[in-house]
């Protein structure tokens, strides 16, 4: 049984439908969610996901080994940046990010445990919308797409240290927002 995405990829290129289906199962959902959270447009997210699969198939010669996941998400990231540029988004992903201080208000363990699964999901969704585009993309690549820090560095074409800093800063921003929202929830629910 094929286990790695790279092996599935080889089989898919030889016409194996089930391998292609498995590849969609592995990356289709996370790609769609990546585009959806970054564009907030259901139809565009579906179109872009389709386009990623079309591109990887068309430019199959360009894949020269390594991590298939990194390659796929690199294409996805480039498509997203192209879309942002088309829609007049500012120049994305500046090299030097300003240092972010930890502004999160500490939340008690019982408050965290009292928050339900669905509530947390909704809170994350709200906070992602409020995050700046760079941080949102970084967070989505790591926590939605499940990329490791080295894979993220490869996708974003940057040194490992810079990738780490980006993730840390993005998380600090997200955590501060989440903690604030959780405190509000706590007051509302009288916890």
């Amino acid at each position: 049984m094929k286990t790695t995405p790279e092996e599935l990829w080889k089989d898919a290129l030889h016409g194996d439908q089930s391998a292609w289906q498995q590849l969609y199962g592995l990356f289709g959902g996370s790609l769609y969610q990546f585009f959806l959270r970054n564009t907030r447009n259901v139809e565009m997210a579906a179109d872009k996901t389709q386009e990623v699969f079309l591109r990887i198939f068309k430019s199959r010669e360009a894949f020269s080994g390594g991590s298939l996941k990194s390659w796929i998400f690199r294409i996805a990231r480039n498509l997203l940046i192209d879309e942002w540029r088309k829609s007049g988004h500012r120049e994305v992903l500046s090299e030097n990010l300003p240092e972010v201080a930890d502004q999160s208000i500490p939340v008690e363990e019982e408050v965290i445990n009292a928050i339900e699964h669905a509530q947390m999901k909704a809170l994350i969704d709200e906070c992602l919308e409020l995050l700046d585009a760079d941080s949102r993309m970084t967070v989505c690549l790591v926590y939605l797409a499940g990329l490791s820090i080295p894979e993220l560095a490869e996708v974003m074409d940057m040194p490992l240290g810079t990738a780490k800093t980006r993730v840390r800063q993005a998380r600090l921003k997200l955590d501060a927002m989440l903690c604030e929202k959780m405190q509000i929830k706590r007051v509302e629910q009288g916890l």
Partner: protein, 363 residues
Amino acid sequence: MNCKELKNLISEAEDLAAIGQTPAAGTHLKTCADCRANLAFEEKVRQGFAAIACEAAPPDLAAKIMAIQAENIAPAEIQKGDPEADSWLDRLLLSLQSFPLKVAFTAGLIGFLSAVLMLRQPQTTPVREPTSLASGQQQETPLPAQDEELLLAKAKDKGLQIQPEISTVSGIPAGNEDENTGRDSMQMAMAPRQRHLESKSEAAIESYNEERIPGAITFTLDSSADTFVADREASAATLADQPAASEAEMQLAMAPAATSRFAAPPPDGEARPRLAASQVTSQGAAKKMKTMQSEAIDPSGEELRELIESSGIDLPEGFINLDELAMRGYLPSERLKHLRPASGNGWYLQKSGNKLRVFLKKR
């Protein structure tokens, strides 16, 4: 292990469950409430992200992506054997695989077809023709001077007192009685000045028709009072001519209630209240608008309102973001497609007390 080290470990760890199992971290976690809270928070965040990642993509997306492989492998294989397979048609079809292009292509095609259909429709609005053409008269050309003199001489022989100006001005052959006896006699009876004016007005109509924009709607208001009198007289004459009709039958036929056409005409000199065509149209449009406003409850708007009410979402007053609703799982993607308004419009949520109203509004 101190708090900072554990924090770094938590943020970089791929498996959070493994952190508690390491002896150093386990010991610290037992004694530090903040780090326990931190670990619990991280677990919740990752679970939340995992739940978002597991949200289903649209069902048709899988089918589209599965088709990519089938469509792209076949041309690739054909290309190896037959270099002519990469024709312009293949390339066009390949470029049309992208969904937005398909939509744009279809929209363009529909637009073109509807334009062709609109242009092919016959003009249904009545166009007023010049009287000379409408009555089937032929355009008359002035006769040469010699013929005129001959005709005048003939007329003199018949004892008709015709002034030469008549034929000169109107250009009508005075002696052409065999062909158009009735018409000619009428034209002869006309004063030269009258004829001159008539020909002027005909020319004006002709020039108007020439200047008219093709396809423009022309409204013609007839004098209904005159029509009425003429109609009434005509019907009375028709009824009187029928010998079998009795006096009672005739009275019944002439009764004002029998038909509204025989209503009493307005007295002479009194201005009959008449509406201009534009007034009639605007009044009709206003009535229609009122009816539409009172009757039109958009079923899609109602559907959306019911969905909002049943989901218990507290949306602020204003435009509804359908994508947002879909993303949060309140609106399935099939319904989203069905409810998405045309570009430039949006669903507007209005709150009056506890009552919600959803309607289309221009953005």
